[in-house]
């Protein structure tokens, strides 16, 4: 188990290095540069060149890459071309925001999906199960920006329950934080919950056909109880894997929601930095995303053996 984790950790570091090269290379593909954007329509070529020199854009790519990586290793993502400020606090701040948003969304999705999916599996032949399945299908088909806008119209504009946009850090006021969190989290979670419901349902259906459920019933548990005691943990294994991937996609999929709800998360930071060709910031943000997604994968890979003794012993 320890060597397994160590092995994965080495791979993890290598992956990060590769990712940094890819990010850097990708960025050099982008047409336009920060100096040009900063100077806008009034720019003269000389002014652009001067600004490029100031940003260090005239240095050879290899040196820029090297400086950047060395900086990151010391926790310093560099200085933004555009703002002249250190990038690290910006990234830390926006990661926190998106982190809260995404984790809340995945938790909500799980809270919705696990009971619904289980119920849909248990009652698969009833109208209830069929209804849940149908609803989850429809849920998947709704683009999240549409869901967001509709939620705002209903719960903010019509009912006035929640603010229509904005963000407040929990330390500034818990009430304000929560009330602003609800709508974005719900609009993010709905689609995810719908997808997850289907996975849970199919995992539970698979598990219910397992012989050990029959054994449990032969022991004197009812079907439902057997499912809860023996089935859910087994069903959790495929669901954890899916949820891990979903978390990764959520992390980067939050950008639309952040835009609609004016949330200063990592998605909007990314979009803004790209628009300004603030490439150091883009690189930093993407590296943090890659880091997080790899971590999530790592956690999932480690979590599955924890749940499943068969894999634990095999590795």
């Amino acid at each position: 188990m320890i060597t397994y984790v160590a092995n994965r950790a080495i791979q993890f570091v290598l992956a990060l290095i590769v990712a940094s090269v890819v990010v850097f290379a990708l960025m050099s593909l982008l047409p336009g540069n920060a100096a040009q954007v900063a100077l806008g329509t009034n720019a003269t070529p000389e002014a652009v060149a001067a600004l490029e020199a100031q940003y260090g854009l005239d240095q050879p790519p290899l040196i820029r890459y090297f400086n950047w990586v060395v900086g990151m290793l010391t926790g310093n993502f560099g200085t933004s071309y555009v703002t002249g400020a250190a990038i690290t606090p910006v990234i830390v701040g926006s990661v926190q925001v998106t982190g809260i948003l995404v984790i809340a969304a995945i938790i909500l999705a799980i809270i919705i999906a696990v009971p619904l999916g289980t119920f849909a599996a248990l009652e698969q032949r009833n109208w209830i199960g069929v209804t849940i399945s149908a609803l989850s299908q429809i849920g998947i088909a709704v683009p999240n920006f549409l869901a967001a806008i509709i939620l705002v119209i209903v719960f903010s504009l019509t009912l006035g329950w929640f603010p229509s946009q904005g963000w407040m850090a929990p330390v500034e006021g818990l009430g304000g934080f929560l009330s602003r969190l609800v709508l974005p989290v719900v609009s993010l979670a709905l689609v995810q919950a719908a997808i997850l419901t289907r996975y849970v349902r199919s995992a539970v259906l698979d598990v219910m056909r397992e012989d050990y459920i029959r054994t449990a019933r032969a022991k004197g548990l009812t079907r439902t109880k057997a499912l809860f005691v023996h089935g859910l943990r087994n069903a959790a294994i495929p669901v954890i894997t899916v949820a891990g991937v979903q978390l990764a996609t959520l992390l980067v999929g939050a950008v639309i929601i952040e835009q609609i709800f004016v949330i200063p998360g990592i998605g909007s930071a990314l979009v803004r930095a790209v628009a300004n060709r603030d490439l150091v910031t883009v690189q930093g943000v993407v590296m943090v995303l890659v880091f997080l997604v790899l971590i999530i994968n790592l956690i999932v890979d480690v979590l599955v053996p924890v749940v499943d003794p068969r894999i634990r012993n095999a590795s």
């Binding site: 047409p31 336009g32 954007v37 002014a47 555009v82 603010p163 946009q165 609609i260 200063p264 803004r272």
Partner: protein, 477 residues
Amino acid sequence: SAGASDSGEEAKKDSMTIAFTAEPVNLDFTSTSGVAIPEALMENVYESLVRVDGEGEIQPGLAQDWDVSKDRKTYTFHLQKGVKFSNGADLTSEDVKFSYERVQDEWKNALKSKMDIVDSIETPDDLTVEIALKKPSNTWLFNMTSLVGAVFDTEGTDDLANEAIGTGPFAIEKFTRGQSIDFAARDDYWGEKPAVKNVQFKYFQDAVSASNALKSGEIDVVSNLQAPELAGEFQGKEYQIISGTTNGEVVLSMNNAQGIFKDKKAREAVMHAIDRKAVLDTAWAGYGELIGSMVPPTDPYYEDLTGVWDFDPQKAKDLIRDAGIEGETFAFTVPNLPYAKAISEIVSAQLEEVGLKADIETQEFPAVWLDKTFTEHKFDMSVINHAEPRDILTVFSNDYYIGYDDSKIKKIAEKADTGTEKEYVSGMKEIAKTITEDAASDFLFLFPNLVIAKSDVAGIPANRVSDAFRIADLSWN
């Protein structure tokens, strides 16, 4: 604060939240171009010697008054007394000299060229500044109302990107990048104290989000709504819809220097083919004004040139046949901005009617558009709102992306600038007319200043004639 709607009536009286679209990436307009920074800072945090009012007239700013020498080359400004910077320093003529020389030496913003004409700056005493120009200029003083005229403290330019120290009625309390700027009124402001003490500029990428926030009462004003169709939802007692003018001419620019539109006939065909009224009605819900030239009505040399090119598809077809470009395809580069994309849809449809096919390429704005269209001139047609004040000569000069042959107007322009005010106005009128008649580009409409506000907000200027969004005049009824 953001929670304006949360707090009670009393608190509301001295705070206000205003929605904007373009966010400042930093606070330093000396090195960063774009409208967002001056919009937030000019006249609120930084002030110039002079300012321009809603009718386009120049008014005193930090300069109480000024004298112009006989040869119209030397301006003597008398500064206001008792003006303090927000860092506590007093305003002296040295600051002015420092600031304006700095424009020439250190600014990165290309607008600094507006200061090129300045020959020397003298400070006979603490409250007097003498600025000598190399030659007389009608535009210089007006240019001073823009951001190049901003006066900085000699000690206050260390970290312009994050800290703005100016003489204006407000100081920046908090700048949350990408989100909001909180302004707090200064107690030690030299002029009239603003009615609203705390003002927040809040930045919305998405116009619908902004309008929703207004509906739910989280903000008080939406400045320059980027989705004009939404304005319709605010008809009624609770809100006011203000649609004034700006300096932004929405130009359907054509590449005069090369390609299909090098031929004047082709450009004329476009002028006849496009129903500007329909464009305005569909693309921008009818808000805005048809102008027919590169001059907004607030400029002294405005003239209604909407009649020069009438909508006449048949004539357009004939011209196209004459030019031998029937059925040809041209490159239409469109910045990914709401108005530009909307316009491109209807313009391409109208051009197709007369036998020209647009190959639309949407370009990321600013980065890609600046690179490909603006710098490399890889385009036949584009559409952009040229928002700077009095920019006709900049846009229609030889080396600008449109590639207009300015040989005809260059002399007139020179004479106009150095001549008397009257000569200036008539000269500029002639230039505007020449450009329009040359079909250099199609001036689709004047971009509106579409502001939606709660009905009890007062003091919102109808017209935006300068870079600044002046918040000192705002108040609650």
